[in-house]
């Protein structure tokens, strides 16, 4: 019997193994859609319980990742709809981080630049509207296919593609704006 089947039958240790596999996906998706750690923790907790309660309704193991992402996305949207979400982490902090990508070099320095760039990008993500954030996080960060994203968000594939295009354009505009405001780029 696979881990998935055992967990479906209520085996707690099998469920814990599945949780270990997917907890980062849940937490990171929530964090990127909600924009702060506190809400992401709450949603992760809530989603894990929903998964445990409803795992038997996931038809097959191959669909598990998308199924979990869908539950996570719905939980995030519920939180935002209720207006209970906290403020996204301040961009003032993240905005202090430069993107001296042109000066990238090999080694530890490159790693540092990459880390800074990552934080800068995450900061820019929080400026997007939540539905755009979810699209970008699902497709570009979590690597779901367009079809999976469409299934998770309950949208036609064409709409996913067009909205994603708009989301990326908006993100690009935000990043360019931030670069303009960064004295190191002037």
């Amino acid at each position: 019997m696979s881990l998935f089947e055992k967990a479906q039958k209520g085996d707690i240790s099998a469920f814990e193994q599945i949780l270990i596999q997917y907890e980062k996906l849940i937490y990171n998706l929530a964090r990127r859609v909600l924009g702060n750690n506190e809400d992401a923790e709450d949603v992760t907790q809530e989603v894990a319980l929903k998964i445990y309660r409803n795992l038997s309704s996931c038809r097959e193991e191959g669909l598990l990742k998308a199924w979990i992402a869908k539950i996570t996305h719905n939980a995030c949207m519920d939180l935002l709809r209720k207006g209970k979400g906290k403020q996204a982490d301040s961009l003032d902090v993240l905005g202090e981080i430069g993107t001296e990508v042109a000066e990238q070099s090999e080694g530890p320095e490159e790693l540092l630049v990459r880390k800074e760039l990552g934080e800068h990008l995450e900061g820019a993500l929080t400026q997007l509207p939540p539905n755009y954030r979810a699209l970008v996080a699902l497709r570009d960060i979590n690597g779901h296919s367009y079809e999976e994203v469409a299934e998770i968000l309950q949208l036609p594939v064409g709409t996913v593609k067009s909205r994603l295009h708009r989301a990326r354009s908006k993100l690009k505009a935000i990043l360019l704006e931030q670069n303009k405001g960064d004295p190191r780029h002037n």
Partner: protein, 183 residues
């Protein structure tokens, strides 16, 4: 979008795909698993209640067993309502609870196996508070009576967790627990 040294252009998609994962905050998984165990107990209890209602013969056998089992317990003090202990009153039970396996203790000893007949009652109880009382001063022969007026298993678990403050039971100690519905 961004020029690197070699003038290679990087798309936003590529940049985002490179974003590192954030680690789960410490202790969150343990917290989740604790919640999951509570849900599991509720599910087990509900399943039992369903199967309990499914066969009248099984119900009869269990009711008879429960009646026999409760009659075998030492009689409750007169007044039939055990008093809640204050911590000082049981200070003679000096052994302290040290188990991380408290959940296993509750699952196997209280909810699912030995005390299933009481679960149907707990499910239908109104909201309220719980009180705990105990008889006997030998932890291995202890009879504990818990009055529960709350159908929230989590609260019951919290109450039981508080019990170690009062009673100091070791993890492997076999104890008998009688759940009483308060009208």
């Amino acid at each position: 979008m961004i020029d690197k040294d070699n003038n290679e252009m990087i798309s936003i998609e590529e940049l985002l795909a490179d974003l590192p994962d954030h680690d789960l905050p410490g202790g969150l998984r343990a917290k989740i698993m604790q919640d999951v165990r509570v849900v599991r107990r509720k599910k087990s209890a509900l399943q039992f209640v369903k199967s309990f209602g499914a066969g009248s013969a099984a119900v009869l056998v269990l009711v008879l067993w429960f009646v026999w089992w409760t009659s075998a317990l030492p009689e409750a003090p007169s007044g039939a309502e055990p008093a809640a202990f204050a911590s000082g009153e049981v200070s003679h039970l000096s052994r302290s609870w040290v188990g991380d396996d408290f959940n296993d203790f509750v699952t196997t000893t209280l909810w699912v196996e030995d005390f299933a007949p009481s679960i149907a009652e707990i499910e239908s109880l109104p909201e309220g508070t719980a009180t705990i009382a105990a008889e006997g001063d030998d932890p291995e022969q202890l009879v504990i009576t818990i009055q529960i007026t709350d159908d929230n298993f989590l609260l019951i678990q919290q109450t039981l967790q508080n019990m170690d403050i009062y009673l100091g039971i070791e993890p492997d100690t076999e104890i008998s627990i009688l759940l009483i519905k308060i009208q």
